[in-house]
Amino acid sequence: MTIEIGTKIPPYEVASVSAEKMKTMAALLADPNPIHWDTRITGALGIGNRPVNQGPLNMGYIMTMLNKWAGGRDRIKNFRVRFLGNVLAGDHLRATGIVTAVRQEENRRIAECNVILQVVGGDEVLSGIATVEVGP
């Protein structure tokens, strides 16, 4: 795999964000916030009848993209994102990234990347940077 400045990371897509996985994640996080599973609450808050995805899931989609591209879950060395908006159940998401720098660090090759998570046809919901080990 040739990796250089400007290389585009293969996108990772979530065709439809699952409300059921939000419930699993709420239990795993011990997150008591009902906006992640109770649509009566989201309706009352004016968000609509779709639950709101957890921030760690949104971050995790970008990490999954990087894991698959770099060849392992131990390849991300640094990951920094800004939260820009909500993701709702049923949203179609696309994580994308582009290499902005490449360097050799002892016996490993490191890529600096800009990364984004976007609702397809809508807004960016996360943007940031990642440092990823991409090879020897």
């Binding site: 795993l28 916030n33 921030g55 995790g60 392992g72 131990d74 990951f79 920094r80 939260f83």
Partner: protein
């Protein structure tokens, strides 16, 4: 809404330690997190988002309690601002991590549309329970609206 806390009172919270605790990446937890993210649940290495989940799961204090330290509550509409995870070594399925953390910054800002708000930074570290090596550092910022400040 309890928005009368002063900037000095918020800044006095810098350095306040979280009680801390421990977090174990149980195999079932690793499997379910990967499945939720559309990643391979059978991979040997836990998904890196578990660093953040371990940090929050083991910090020993709830977000509601942190909001109280800062003179606010969930009713004020706090939001996550930014997040950073730095991995010093790979996570391991079955490993137990010692979790420690503290508030590291507090800054009051005023926006024309957003009004007055505080940006609170906190940092949480994971160390191997066995051996003591640092495994990950997670930093996060919270945005706390101060509508009547």
């Amino acid at each position: 809404m309890s928005n009368t806390i002063t900037e000095a009172e918020v800044q006095a919270q810098i350095g306040r330690q979280f009680p801390g605790g421990h977090y174990t990446i149980e195999p079932w937890r690793s499997w379910l997190v990967a499945d939720c993210l559309g990643d391979d649940p059978y991979a040997d290495v836990p998904h890196p988002v578990l660093a953040w989940m371990a940090a929050v799961g083991g910090m020993g204090v709830s977000f509601d309690e942190i909001f109280q330290w800062l003179g606010g509550s969930a009713d004020d509409g706090p939001m996550f601002g930014e997040h950073q995870t730095t991995m010093h070594r790979a996570l391991e399925v079955g490993a137990t991590y010692r979790v420690s953390g503290q508030i590291v910054s507090a800054e009051r800002k005023h926006g024309r549309r957003a009004g007055t708000f505080d940006i609170i930074g906190y940092e949480i570290s994971l160390h191997n329970e066995v051996g003591g090596e640092q495994v990950a550092t997670c930093w996060n910022s919270l945005v706390l609206p101060r509508r009547s400040a």
